[in-house]
């Protein structure tokens, strides 16, 4: 699969996890979107750093070719899926009473 296909699948999987499996429904909450807005701001800076300096390089035939802050658009999907999944587990364990405070 291409990076594009994998990244789209990862976002779909993370949203299904959020809404239907763990059911924290973070994607319906202000606290998540506010946090994500902060995170994506910093992601764009680090993405730009890593790609404009060519620390990380991407094969043009494996990505769709849309670039945001010099990095492939797929990176934002990758990041969204990772952040949403981790925060879902974090809230899940909190709900279970694991180190709630």
């Amino acid at each position: 699969m291409s990076y594009t296909q994998l990244a789209i699948c990862a976002v779909i999987a993370a949203v299904i996890l959020d809404l239907f499996i763990i059911k924290n429904r973070l994607t319906t909450r202000k606290v998540f979107w506010t946090s994500y807005a902060i995170i994506i701001f910093f992601q764009l800076i680090t993405n730009w750093w890593l790609t404009s300096r060519e620390i990380v390089m991407y094969s043009e035939e494996k990505i769709i070719g849309w670039r945001i802050a010099s990095a492939p658009a797929e990176d934002l999907l990758f990041g969204f899926a990772m952040v949403l999944s981790v925060l879902n587990l974090w809230v899940y364990w909190g709900k279970k009473g694991v180190q709630r405070r």
Binding site: K30, T34, S35, V86, L87, V98
Partner: protein, 102 residues
């Protein structure tokens, strides 16, 4: 980039007292399962040449699956920074529901 992420987020521990690092067990339970999946993705992506790294700009130390050691740190530090961010937002916005309230 990793240092930037640490500096950019870990101050929340001190200033807003988010107490994420103190909750080490919960951090590991949240980060490790996701990191495992994304490391498998990383290994596949590197093997298929979706992306590659400039050998001159990495430490040159490789972990399992031939993945640069920086990538392993990435999959630990970035998720911890994300957890600190949501805990910081809830610290400031006390009325917003996260879902794990007692």
């Amino acid at each position: 980039m990793l240092a930037f992420t640490v500096v950019g987020s870990f101050w929340l521990e001190i200033v807003l007292k988010v107490g994420v690092l103190r909750r080490f067990k919960r951090v590991l339970l949240s980060v490790l399962p996701v990191a495992t999946i994304f490391i498998i993705w990383d290994a596949y992506a590197i093997s298929q040449d979706h992306w590659h790294f400039d050998p001159e700009q990495i430490l040159g130390v490789f972990g399992p699956f031939g993945i640069p050691v920086e990538e392993y740190f990435f999959f630990l530090i970035v998720p911890i920074a994300a957890i600190m961010t949501i805990e910081a937002v809830r610290t400031v916005k006390k009325k917003w529901i996260v879902g794990d309230e007692a």
